[in-house]
Subunit: 219 residues, 2 copies
DNA sequence: GTATAAAGTTAGAGGAATCTAACAAATAAA
DNA sequence: TTTATTTGTTAGATTCCTCTAACTTTATAC
């Protein structure tokens, strides 16, 4: 069984391999906040446990077992976030840190009970998919808000950034998942967008913000 | 700040010093499931951190700081047990293992929210007192059922043993905290007691069981 | 009150996870 | 294509928590 440390390595690998499949040692080091030699030696151990594929000077890949193990940790993390928000009244900007710790609890029953109480949710409070008990993750094909056209109606469905800074920004604009946004215009110069939603008639969102908002089009 | 390991040492010391104030190394070793040399060296470290008082060949005592630190860990443990039972529907026999892990979470907010949701409880599901935020613990002066007299009416208020074996035994007899028991008789030969409670007209409880049941007399 | 047993200590070692310093390989720039 | 930069590796050390083996002190029994 993976130690807490190994679980963190697996989780970071899982998150980074959602885009590309291979992850360089340096990237792991920065995301984990440890030195490259530390990652190097840790990855060698994890290779022995058949969690990763690794060759000298090459980037790291997860094995199938590694992927599943990682997905089950992410499952615990996201279920926990959902529980903290929906059952304990935390804000979506507060739950990441707490879930980082609870995800390492070894008590199946605990997470199964959460799952049940939540009605078997498929996404977390930031719209990220919750892997199922087999570690399978459904691909959500949302679109970047920055790619939408003036005149489109979209539903804010997920976030590409769950940092508390960004979440607090969204709070300040009363932006929540599930909201319908109307794209009023798009400024060609800086790619900012002016949108309306809820009670807000006209809000301008920078390109940086739009790129972090994942939406689906309303037909 | 205490590591998880140190937290476990503190917690065991706290529990063992509820009876007597001094704890021999050997006792710590058995309760923690580690060897005596391990305890010996760990206790030396903890002494440096001013959590325990220790002299060669002498038993260990908690300092005031140690007591408070320990009480706050016990607080997290007992709040968690209460949460698991009252808010998540677990049985009182299932919660100890889970709480053993959750007690090491460093997220004040998380436990404060539990406390709030539970309405600031003062005892856990086994009747043990929950230390307050300052680490103060109220002395509950319950009596051992084995000391009660035939004819007494008592309220089952706490348990001197929270092992799952014992809890499952109590489940099988439908014994729950808060129940009123009538002591019908006491067998002088083996100190067993015959009692009635709830729908049960006559149940015989061995001395061993009676010693683990803490009650208060109904005036 | 000595002898035996139990409890406690010291010494030395090992695994996990981390670091820094020094070196090697791969990649990018000139 | 040689040079410089970035990335990755090796070696060696450190801290935390643990062990076993050997020894010492304290407590118990006769």
């Amino acid at each position: 069984m993976a130690s807490s440390t190994e679980e963190n390595y697996l989780k970071v690998l899982f998150n980074l391999t959602q885009e590309k499949t291979e992850v360089p040692i340096s990237e792991l080091a920065t995301h984990l906040g440890v030195s490259m030699p530390t990652v190097n030696s840790m990855i060698k151990n994890m290779q022995k446990n058949d969690w990763v594929i690794y060759e000298k000077y090459k980037p790291v890949t997860l094995t199938e077992i590694g992927k599943k193990t990682a997905a089950l940790i992410v499952r615990k993390h996201r279920l926990t976030e959902m529980f903290l928000v929906n059952k304990m009244g935390f804000g979506w900007e507060e739950v990441h840190e707490i879930a980082e710790q609870i995800e390492h609890i070894h008590a199946k029953k605990f997470f199964e009970r959460m799952d049940e109480m939540l009605g078997f949710p498929t996404v977390d409070p930031h719209g990220s998919p919750i892997p199922d008990k087999q570690g399978r993750i459904q691909e959500l094909h949302y679109k970047n808000l920055s790619l939408a056209q003036a005149g489109n109606q979209v539903i804010l469905s997920a976030l590409a950034d769950s940092s508390s800074d960004f979440l607090e920004f969204l709070n300040s604009r009363e932006l929540k998942l599930g909201m319908e946004l109307k794209i009023l215009s798009r400024e060609p110069y800086d790619s900012s967008m002016t949108v309306s939603y809820g009670d807000r008639k006209s809000e301008t969102l920078s390109e940086k913000v739009c790129e972090k908002l994942l939406v689906r089009l309303v037909e």
